[in-house]
């Protein structure tokens, strides 16, 4: 049998970032897929351990340019978890507002990119055109379009001015009507449906086996959403549905993201209403963080992002661990991409909305002169954890 290897990456029009997939194909059918990460490693965890907590928040904001508030939110959740810090109600609403607006713009960005990847550039441009007002809303709220710098331990750094709330609500209504139009156009398109339906199916069992999170798992019938299961900030106080679809194909992932966008708009509206009436402070001033460890979770647009922080009573984390949603979603390609044509495999790669620079948390050690697996990563990791434990216990 004549088998070809198609390299997708490290630089390829399908990927906005550097990542390397090798697709082994037999004619047009993908028989095997391999992933090679490590092209974008920037050592964020190590840098974070050299910075103070406030600086770390600004640092993790730069892990990802798209879900740029998910990482800070998870980090402040983790630091607050160390000391059981409470935040004011108004701050909780502002955090949720920012988080949900980000979900809207991230899902719209994905919708556009998905259109581009299947050669439907009109969808691409339209989705991004209506993503623009969301970014403008961010600019009104925080002064920035992409990295908002809003999260602080114990609250948020900027208030939403009451005078601007009506303007924001009006903007949101406009976005909603335009989105309904796009959603209708996308849903009614028979060619699009035939192109995406039944493509790259991730079964429920495979999603469980690969620990998929976020829209990837929810499209496969798993109702995993940290916003519902572990409500932080204002998520316990607003009304929203967790969208779950059953088929696990690319079309379901598309519909799920569109429906989630409408849920997010609903949440943002409730937050704006609450912000208009309630007028509490926005920041609990935290002087110091006691020694201990904390876990922070947040439902990023791509799934659950997880931060672990260990502190020793100083103003820096001594260990900071990040697990981004794409890190567990990307291996699902092993289950969903085999046995389908190249054209389908590539849109399946894009359908989990992979964010590669979030994923790159590790490097591969290879000793080319000797045994390639001389360095056991698990062993190195355990030794490191053990050394922290000794350090904290004062041994």
């Amino acid at each position: 049998m004549n088998k070809n290897v198609i390299p997708v990456g490290p630089f390829h029009p399908l990927l906005e970032e550097a990542e390397y997939f090798t697709l082994t194909v037999d004619g047009e059918t993908v028989v095997d897929i391999e992933l090679d990460i490590g092209w974008m490693h920037r050592g964020h965890e190590f840098i974070s351990e050299q910075k103070t907590f406030t600086q770390s928040i600004f640092l993790v904001e730069r892990i990802c340019g798209i879900c740029s508030t998910s990482h800070p939110l998870a980090l402040v959740h983790a630091i607050e978890d160390v000391d059981n810090i409470e935040i004011p109600e108004r701050a909780a609403y502002i955090r949720t507002l920012i988080g949900e607006l980000e979900r809207i713009h991230s899902h719209l960005l994905w919708l556009g990119l998905a259109g581009h990847f299947i050669g439907y550039d009109t969808v691409w441009m339209w989705a991004w055109k209506y993503r623009e007002p969301v970014l403008e809303m961010f600019e009104v709220i925080s002064g920035n379009r992409n990295h908002y710098g809003m999260m602080r331990v114990g609250g948020v750094s900027k208030d939403v001015e009451p005078a601007k709330i009506s303007e924001l609500a009006k903007n949101l209504d406009m976005i909603q009507t335009k989105l309904e139009m796009i959603a209708k156009a996308v849903n009614d398109d028979p060619v699009l449906k035939s192109r995406l339906k039944g493509v790259g199916v991730l079964t429920k069992q495979a999603a469980i086996d690969f620990c998929a999170v976020g829209p990837t798992s929810r499209a496969s019938g798993i109702p995993a959403d940290v916003r519902k299961t572990d409500p932080k900030d204002a998520y316990g106080m607003v009304d929203f549905k967790v969208i779950v679809l059953q088929n696990g194909d690319v079309y379901d992932k598309l519909v799920l993201r569109v429906l989630e966008t409408f849920e997010s708009i609903k949440i943002v509206k409730q937050c704006l209403d609450k912000l208009a009436e309630n007028n509490s402070p926005i920041l609990n001033d935290i002087k110091e963080i006691k020694p201990g460890e904390g876990i922070g979770r947040y439902e990023a647009p791509r799934g659950e992002v997880f931060h672990y922080v260990r502190t020793d009573g100083t103003n820096r984390p001594i260990r900071h661990k990040v697990r981004a949603p794409s890190y567990v979603n990307i291996p699902t390609f092993q289950a969903s991409c085999k046995g389908i044509p190249i054209a389908d495999a590539l849109i399946t790669l894009a359908a989990v909305d992979p964010c590669y620079c979030c994923t790159e948390r590790s490097l591969k050690f290879i000793d080319i002169n000797h045994d390639p697996l001389k360095y056991d990563l698990l062993k190195i990791s355990r030794e490191k954890t053990e050394s922290f434990r000794r350090q904290i216990n004062g041994l």
Binding site: P13, L14, V25, G119, K129, V191, A343
Partner: protein, 309 residues
């Protein structure tokens, strides 16, 4: 050979006219696409700039593969394109037969596709070879339907295969598009053209986000410029062919000039609209579409044409 043949081939309606009109129509394509997507679009002479700039760029030749084929393919394809547009154009503008009939046009079109396949496959690049493979499959898909719809005007004109005779039959009896069989064949013809020009939804061989331009991937400099020019020249040759076969040609006197421009632009804009309102389909869907839907419809059109509808 008569001296005016040289004029037909090199100036009007051959090389010069088709390339200049093609580059201008390329601007219409880009502009309409841009307006579709809320962009401004390029200035009028952007395609000319692109073409001449590419001519001045370095030609990089990959070490592996068949170099001669790689270099020669775009220029043979260019020659084929010039020949096709000269044959169609002379029949359309002068009602004059250049010594070639509709079957020659079909063969030449096939040579063009074969040149894309050879040029793409000659490099040894994996994207190019997958793209060339897709081009073969797409050729298999659309060729049968295309040949069948070309039979419709032949039958309706009383079994004439000369392009000028087909045109004359329409001048005397009215355009074939007015009949059922002609209309069906015309619509399938537009879709076949879409596939032959590898425009979305049939941009399968060149799929930018999958195969990175497919067969054209390794091309650079002048050969790439000529591939791009060939693609734009098809924007002239194919609509002219459809107008010639189904829509009664041009009547270039008085208000007829306006109608001629409108006929041509409406076909081009229809193609651009199809291109912009559809995603790229899979190669198996394309085969399915052409073999199970378009070809039977073309057969129906032939049967209708035989019975005079």
């Amino acid at each position: 050979m008569k001296p005016e043949f040289v004029f037909y081939l090199l100036v009007f309606p051959g090389l010069l006219f088709t390339s200049v009109l093609g580059l201008l129509i390329g601007w219409v394509d880009r502009k309409v696409t841009a307006r579709f997507t809320y962009r401004v679009g390029p200035p009028l002479f952007q395609n000319f700039n692109d073409f001449f700039k590419l001519l001045g760029k370095e030609t990089i030749i990959v070490k592996e593969g068949v170099h001669s084929l790689f270099i020669v393919a775009p220029f043979i394809a260019f020659g084929v394109m010039v020949l096709i547009s000269a044959i169609i154009g002379t029949a359309l503008f002068y009602q004059y037969d250049l010594g070639a009939d509709i079957i020659v046009v079909m063969y030449l079109l096939m040579i063009y596709s074969v040149m894309i396949i050879l040029g793409g496959a000659s490099t040894g690049n994996v994207y190019s070879s997958v793209g060339a493979g897709r081009e073969i499959k797409l050729l298999l898909a659309d060729e049968l339907a295309f040949i069948l719809i070309c039979l419709v005007p032949i039958i309706k004109s009383g079994y004439q295969i000369k392009l000028d005779s087909i045109l004359m039959a329409q001048v005397t009896n009215g355009a074939f598009i007015g009949s059922f069989s002609g209309l069906i064949a015309f619509i399938i013809g537009i879709l076949c053209i879409q596939a032959k020009m590898a425009l979305t939804p049939f941009s399968i061989p060149e799929a930018e986000t999958e195969l990175v331009e497919g067969p054209l991937m390794e091309y650079s400099g002048p050969p790439l410029a000529f591939w791009k020019l060939n693609q734009l020249m098809m924007y002239v040759a194919f609509p002219f062919l459809l107008i010639l076969l189904f829509w009664g040609g041009f009547e270039l006197i008085g208000i007829g000039i306006l109608w001629a421009v409108l006929k041509y632009l409406s076909i081009v804009v229809l193609m651009i609209i199809i291109k912009n309102t559809n995603p790229r389909i899979r190669i198996d869907t394309a085969l399915h579409f052409f073999w199970k839907i378009a070809t039977p419809l073309a057969f129906i059109a032939i049967i209708l044409a035989v019975f005079g509808y």
